[in-house]
Amino acid sequence: MAITQQELESRLKAAANALRGPVDPTDFKTYVFPMLFWKWISDTWVYEHDAAIDELGDDLDDEVEADYHRFEMPEGTLWSEVTGKVKNLGAEIARAFQRIEKANPRSLAGVFGDASWGNQERLPESALLALIKAFNELSLDPTTVSHDLLGAGYEYLLKDFADESGKKAGEFFTPRSVVNLLVGVLQPEPGEAVYDPTCGSGGMLVATINQLREAGKDHRSLRLYGQEINLTTSSIARMNLFLHEIEDFDIKRGDTLRTPAFKDNSGAVRTFDVVIANPPFSLTNWGADRWPADPRALCGVPPAKNGDYAFIQHMISSMNSGSGRVGVVMPHGVLFRGGAEARIRRCLIEKDQLEAVIGLPPNLFYSTTIPACLLIFRDKKPADRKDHILFVDGSARFVKDRNQNRMSGRDVNALIDAYRTGEDPDGEGGAVRLVPFDEIKENGFDLNISRYIRVAAEETADLGTALVAYADARQHRIDTEGVMFERLGAAGIDLSMFEVPNG
């Protein structure tokens, strides 16, 4: 009996609410996602087991049965086997997780993260029981919940936890409008390798899948790679991809700037078709001391107290020659800051791989209110964009919400169109401009968007046009006034002060 997305979301929300009170909301994700994932692989295993029995009956043996299962569940590790226990439940769950990870070393090692299930201080037994009870009411086998639905439910919870966590959410959650914009601009194609060096909970990677699906293209041939420094968050990302029915992915844990996890045989960073990220803004203590000898410092070593250009250069280094493109979310400061960053910026512009600068509305993100932008790099820019940079001002394209601004689907599509066509989607030409290299050079390689785009005010029209429009409006007002006077007169209202005839 399939359930609707609404039902699923309200059940998941109820499960999270079971922890409310004794558990800090910022820890919800640490406990809820592993439980959700465990319940899903357990219910799916039981479903696959029943299918195997239906098909083979008495002929079923362990070896044959293994072919039916995506994940191996050692005896005693199924949800129903563990949650029925009455003593040391937290410790029993932790043990089951260890055994499941061990039985699936290639796919599930470390997937359950490092939550302290046995620590009653952080997770009282009552809260754990309430969480189990909530999940008991939710069957997650494939006949009840499809992959699409489960993936969407997972995303819903991620957003919900982000809303709960406020500023701290920036570490694991990028607003989906920004993700969709970046993916829409970079347009991953079937068969390509996509890499997010600061992948958080995997939202960017999932969005690439969703976009191909929606375009009716084969998403299963995409290969996805990500690195994430935080253990819990990297586990959440892996579960996220599993739940979205993605097989070909590799999420590694670690510090991308100090120890990049993806290397080729020669020891250089590996390259990908699409490199996409929303790195932490202006990271201090990012490991500058090792960079003078690092080949990723293509244009120089960024300041020790600010890692923005380290991420940018890491991403450019990770871009394939030919097909490669990079999309990165950055604070506006990278466009105009001086010192070492100005030198790096100039060098990158001179390499002619920076294709576009897209200004975003203010206050979109959880972790910061400062306005941000997207930088788009391409190894091979199209001929008409060579020696130019496209500037797109999206700063006014937002809807005000209670705590944050957000971009609507329409806003996102308008900016994607502006990037693709190089023209202002509103047809006014004011918010999009392809700027030649010489002009950027004249401006000292400052990329501040307002240097190149004036938010077009109506008064940039010429005086003659403006006076004609004013004269039209005035005449229209005089005509309308006549209509009103006729009515007021008919209503018997004295109009003598206007010197117009009554009636």
């Binding site: 509305p361 006014a396 307002s450 008064e459 009515r487 018997g492």
Partner: protein, 402 residues
């Protein structure tokens, strides 16, 4: 006076949400300003199980925002739109014309009624329940009288729209004229603006009144309008030292320039010029403003004002604002170091007079628009409380006009 319950009825068409459908969603603007058309909503992306279908000519209000006057009557040519169940809908009976009730939704009287109904216990605001809404009493003339009122007010509202448009067009004409006649040359001029000043100093915010040596009125950018004048008297009363006051006391013809503010579409750097009518008591500008006093031996103070105003309208401030946060700050020193090519004094005065003439025209149309809105509101009140009765002969006009 009649209760709403006797002339209209709750009439909700709840539609079960289909995940495969996309729904056009509306909200209701406050102060009776009509429907707000939102982004289409895919059924698969909402947690609502049902949505209310809003029909043409139906009355709809926001249960939560009713206290702000979020009530309207849907247009008669409305396409299929939906709202959440927070938006109950009602259909008028034969004794109440939807267009007549639409006029009522623009009156403070109805908003006050809604506000009274939504005052809950202990300061918490309750939603307005449909059953309570139906207890509101309204004036209800005959249907033919309602028809006359609707038609008469349509004539007045047509003029309100037309004059609003005229104000906008007049303002744009002023901007274009100022940019054409008085703005700085784009490639810079010979004389730096700051060399034309007797005084160039940032304002101060001081302390609470009564703390320091003397109390003064303080203008802030909140009192700026975009159209060359202050919106009213200085709201702030602060205390400063005598020396702070001496160097910042505002005099007629002084220019105040906004150093912090702006929006994504309008740069920081709005300017106003102080007139004697703006000075009631000793007055200064606040800390986010810069005081500029022109040296009259070098430049016409009014011409200098127009130059700065035109530059701001043109968007010059975008090149001189730091925006590391949502607050945009003007790089005042660099902004005022730009060069200007001054025409001869006579031409400066002539340009200033021309622009002042257009500005007077803008202000007179603005004033006319404000007075017309006040008239509209008074007329509607007097029609509703039947102080003004429209004679039946008005129907001759209704027959003549389609």
């Amino acid at each position: 006076m009649t209760t709403l319950g006797s002339v209209l009825s709750l009439d909700v068409t709840a539609v079960k949400v289909d995940p495969m459908q996309v729904y056009d969603i509306v909200g209701v603007l406050n102060r009776g300003r009509g429907l707000l058309y939102r982004d289409p909503l895919p059924g698969s992306e909402t947690s609502y199980q049902t949505l209310n279908l809003i029909g043409p000519n139906q009355i709809v209000y926001s249960r939560l925002k009713a206290f702000e006057g979020a009530i309207t009557v849907a247009p008669s040519n409305l396409a299929q739109v939906y709202a959440s169940q927070e938006f109950p809908t009602f259909t008028c009976g034969p004794r109440l014309l939807p267009n007549y009730f639409r006029l009522l939704t623009t009156t403070k009287g109805l908003w006050d009624d809604l506000q009274n109904l939504s005052t809950g216990m202990g300061g918490r605001r309750e939603r307005v329940k449909p059953a309570d809404f139906l207890t509101i009493r309204i004036p209800l003339p005959s249907v033919s009288e309602q028809n006359r009122i609707v038609d008469l007010m349509r004539g007045v509202d047509g003029l309100v729209s037309a004059i609003t448009e005229e104000v906008e067009r007049a303002r744009v004409a002023l901007s274009c004229a100022a940019i054409e006649l008085a703005s700085l040359p784009a490639d810079g001029g010979k004389v730096p603006i700051d060399s034309l000043l007797l005084r160039n100093i940032g304002g101060v915010w001081g302390s609470e009144a009564g703390v320091d040596e003397m109390d003064v009125d303080v203008y802030r950018s909140t009192e700026f309008t975009n159209w060359c004048r202050l919106s009213g008297e200085a709201e702030a009363r602060r205390s400063v030292s005598a020396s702070q006051f001496r160097s910042r006391e505002l005099k007629a013809q002084d220019i105040l320039i906004e150093k912090s503010g702006g929006t994504p579409t309008r740069s920081v750097g709005r300017v106003v010029q102080i007139s004697t009518g703006d000075l009631y008591r000793p007055t200064i500008g606040a800390n986010f403003l810069q005081l500029l006093r022109a040296d009259p031996s070098k430049v016409s103070p009014r011409y200098l004002f127009w130059t700065l105003w035109a530059g701001h309208r043109r968007g010059d401030g975008f090149d001189f604002q730091t925006a590391s946060t949502n607050i945009r700050n003007l790089q005042t020193k660099a902004y005022l170091a730009r060069g200007v090519d001054l025409p001869c004094r006579e031409t400066q005065e002539e340009i200033a007079r021309t622009l002042d003439g257009i500005l007077d025209c803008v202000h007179s149309v603005e004033n006319e628009a404000a007075n017309l809105r006040a008239f509209r509101s008074t007329l509607l009140t007097s029609l509703l409380n039947q102080e003004t009765e429209i004679p039946e002969s008005y129907d001759d006009l209704l027959e003549r006009v389609p």
